[in-house]
């Protein structure tokens, strides 16, 4: 029953999509027609249908309707209620339906909020957005239908991968998708603005909100993924340069560049073409991300789909969209206003160009590092791995000038700043940064002195962004985001330099000395939970002053049978105590890994600050 509801509503949505695509060119030629009429009702019907099908799938998961193949493959009656719901998008079919849901809801919001803009622009945006929706509908209905029926109906499902049964990961995909899919609106509207010849101030003003919204969701989505990786994968790291992580980082770089460019377009009517190119690129990257993850060609912990026909479909779809946009770009490029004047080398405009240059560089490092191994394997069958050392070697040297530029750039004036004035204040802060970094690194250990320039640059940015709070010239949201970024870099660096790790094989009752602390394996007990058994250890970490207890777990899930280790983490403002243990084959011994991670919490806080700056900017403008 639910399967039929889901299927039929998707077909109705498909039909509305086709009608809109056919009708919009006709409407385009009639100038004074208001689209709030028939097209608006079609879009509403479409969204409603997709919402219904999504709800049908959620209900299928909640009541464990195993006549549905997706539910059967990814759920189990013993699963907690919350994870039954999150199981809806914890799989290939459901997550695509979520993509589609966000696509159509965003389009609806766009139509409602763009009423005061020109009809031509709105209809064209609708047109391109509907092409994307149509592509996803076809993809879902013909290669990854979440409403396939099973007969005879099985009694029990095969369960959700336990590693995905986690609160942060349950909301991670929807948040990330809001970011990815938000870029589709940017894409459609930039093409529409290009064709209707309205790439200008008011377009920039309008699309800025969408850029910000996508950027905020993407940032928070990435944050949630990192937090999850930190405590669930049990390695104590938070970023592994895993291909799927990279895929979410690429549109982030692009969006950050786009946001800065849009600001210039809004204030100074410059960089029109570049803004359009960035809009197209951002969405292409989001789509390629979906393609790379869904096709299963990446060797990654995240891959949960492995079907070549799906990959081929997305690849073709992506190819069509990109070709279409390149074609449109070159065909309508001459409609873009070309009032280009050279910007002065010391000005805010140039600073934004430099920001863009660095963003594009970081993007290209991540992009090339991610796809190069795939191409190499196809071309001459050589398998290589590109991992953290590669990214660090290429990104770190460029990070140093980038941080210094970021400190100076926002304080420059528009058009032309004074060149002959040496800013005494900045110079003082720079000298202060040199002294502090040197003392800090010398205390940590002489072997870290090679990272001195990096520390100087990040301390410099840190001081300048703090100082900027006292300057009235720039707006508050920018200050918060930039300060957040400097805090982020600094916490990551300090964390990297000061982190301590101890690993040993221990059995119950053992005691080990590490630095000035004693690690005692006090006890071990077995717990029964609804859908797993767990082995809970109790460790006491004590130094002269105080002691804490850490209780990591090893969980054995029965559906499907999987062992996961759950780290126990005690966070304070200064540092995290992180302990994880694993079962070894030798009797009674467990592998114990204890880590002290200074300023870990500040990494999360800083990303929240970065995103908060964006939120503030939206709220302030509309409030």
């Amino acid at each position: 029953m639910l399967n039929q509801i889901g299927n039929y509503s998707l077909y109705i949505a498909l039909l509305s999509s086709i009608i809109i695509i056919i009708q919009s060119p006709i409407l385009l030629n009639r100038n004074n027609i208001n689209i709030s009429g028939r097209i608006f009702s079609l879009i509403s019907i479409q969204s409603l249908m997709i919402i219904i099908s999504f709800i049908a799938l959620i209900i299928g998961f909640i009541i464990s309707d195993f006549s549905n193949e997706t539910v059967y493959n990814n759920s189990h009656t013993s699963k907690p209620f919350f994870y039954k719901i999150s199981g809806t998008w914890g799989n290939h079919e459901g997550s695509l339906l979520l993509w589609l849901l966000v696509l159509s809801i965003f389009l609806l919001i766009f139509t409602i909020t763009s009423k005061n803009l020109s009809n031509k622009y709105r209809i064209l945006t609708l047109f391109f957005q509907e092409i994307i929706i149509l592509g996803f509908l076809l993809f879902i209905l013909f290669t990854s239908n979440p409403f396939m029926s099973l007969f005879p109906i099985p009694n029990e499902g095969s369960g959700l991968n336990p590693i995905l049964q986690d609160p942060a990961l349950a909301i991670h995909p929807p948040i990330l998708y809001l970011g990815y899919v938000g870029t589709s609106i940017i894409f459609s509207s930039s093409l529409a603005a290009l064709i209707s010849g309205s790439v200008n101030k008011s377009w920039a003003k309008h699309i800025k909100n969408w850029v910000l919204v996508s950027w905020i969701f993407l940032s928070i989505g990435i944050l949630l993924g990192s937090i999850w990786a930190y405590y669930e994968l049990g390695w104590g790291g938070f970023w592994f340069w895993d291909p799927v992580e990279n895929v979410s980082l690429m549109p982030w770089f692009c969006l950050t560049a786009l946001f800065h460019t849009i600001l210039i377009l809004e204030k100074r009517e410059m960089f029109h073409s570049w803004a359009v190119i960035l809009s197209i690129t951002t969405f292409s990257l989001s789509m390629s991300g979906t393609f790379l993850v869904r096709s299963g060609i990446l060797n990654s912990i995240h891959t949960f789909a492995n079907d070549p026909s799906r990959g081929v479909f997305i690849l073709c779809f992506l190819f069509i969209l990109i070709t279409l946009s390149i074609f449109i770009y070159f065909f309508y490029q001459n409609k873009i206003k070309n009032n280009f004047t050279k910007t002065h080398i010391v000005s805010k405009e140039t600073a934004v160009l430099v920001n863009n240059l660095f963003m594009m560089f970081f993007l290209s490092v991540v992009l090339i590092g991610t796809v190069y191994p795939i191409f190499l394997e196809v071309v001459n069958n050589d398998k290589i791995s590109v991992g953290p050392p590669f990214y660090h070697k290429l990104i770190v040297p460029f990070l140093i000038p980038f941080l210094i530029f970021m400190a100076i750039g926002p304080n420059l004036n528009w058009i032309k700043d004074k060149t002959n004035k040496i800013n005494l204040q900045q110079l003082l802060f720079f000298i202060l940064s040199i002294i502090i970094s040197f003392i800090f690194l010398k205390r940590v250990g002489i072997s870290y002195l090679f990272s001195l320039p990096l520390f100087i640059a990040s301390f410099f940015l840190f001081f300048i962004t703090i100082k900027d709070f006292s300057v009235k010239k720039t707006n508050l949201s920018q200050k918060i985001s930039h300060f957040g970024f400097s805090l982020f870099i600094l916490s990551v660096l300090v964390n990297g330099v000061l982190a301590k790790e101890y690993s040993s094989n221990m059995k119950v009752g053992d005691e080990r000395k590490f630095l000035n602390k004693t690690i005692k394996f006090e006890s071990l007990k077995v717990n029964e939970s609804k859908n797993y058994q767990s082995l809970e250890a109790n460790f006491k970490i004590s130094d002269k002053k105080n002691s804490i207890n850490l209780k990591p777990e090893v969980r054995v899930y029965d559906q499907p049978q999987t062992i996961t280790s759950e780290a126990d983490i005690k966070s304070t403002l200064y540092s995290d105590n992180f302990l994880v243990f694993n079962i070894l084959k030798n009797d009674g011994f467990y592998n114990v890994r204890y880590q002290i991670k200074p300023f870990m919490i500040w990494i999360w806080i800083s990303i929240i600050l970065i995103s908060f700056g964006g939120i503030l900017s939206i709220v302030k403008k509309n409030g």
Binding site: F361, D382, I384
Partner: protein
């Protein structure tokens, strides 16, 4: 006096042994962070607790004890398991584009910007 010297020397030896041991195990960590665990999904040898990773760490420790330096150890592993095992691909004719392409793009972008700005 002699006893004092004896005690000191013993302590010195224990101390230096500890130091070199610590340095060695740190070296194992350092090397194993750069190696892919071949039977895992996107994990390094360092992070993994699989049998493969554990035996790999012992292998690296043995090589260090034999007095091999980092490069020799990487070369040995590459000849045994292929380029795929290292996360840090060396520059050769296959990977030169991987390393150089981002740099070329940066220079190219830099030139573009320089052409768009005026110095006066």
């Amino acid at each position: 006096m002699k006893i004092k010297i004896l005690v000191l020397t013993i302590f010195y030896f224990i101390g230096s042994f500890n130091l070199s041991y610590a340095a060695n195990s740190e070296k194992v960590d350092q090397i194993s962070k750069n190696l892919r665990c071949l039977i895992c999904q996107g994990q390094s040898v360092y992070d993994s607790q699989s049998d493969f990773a554990l035996s790999m760490k012992i292998l690296i420790q043995n090589k260090i004890d034999e007095g091999k330096n980092d490069e020799q150890i990487y070369d040995f592993l590459k000849s045994k398991y292929g380029e795929w095992i290292v996360y840090d691909p060396e520059i050769n004719k296959n990977t030169v584009l991987l390393w150089v392409l981002p740099l070329i793009l940066f220079v190219f972008g830099g030139i573009l910007i320089l052409r768009k700005v005026s110095i006066k």
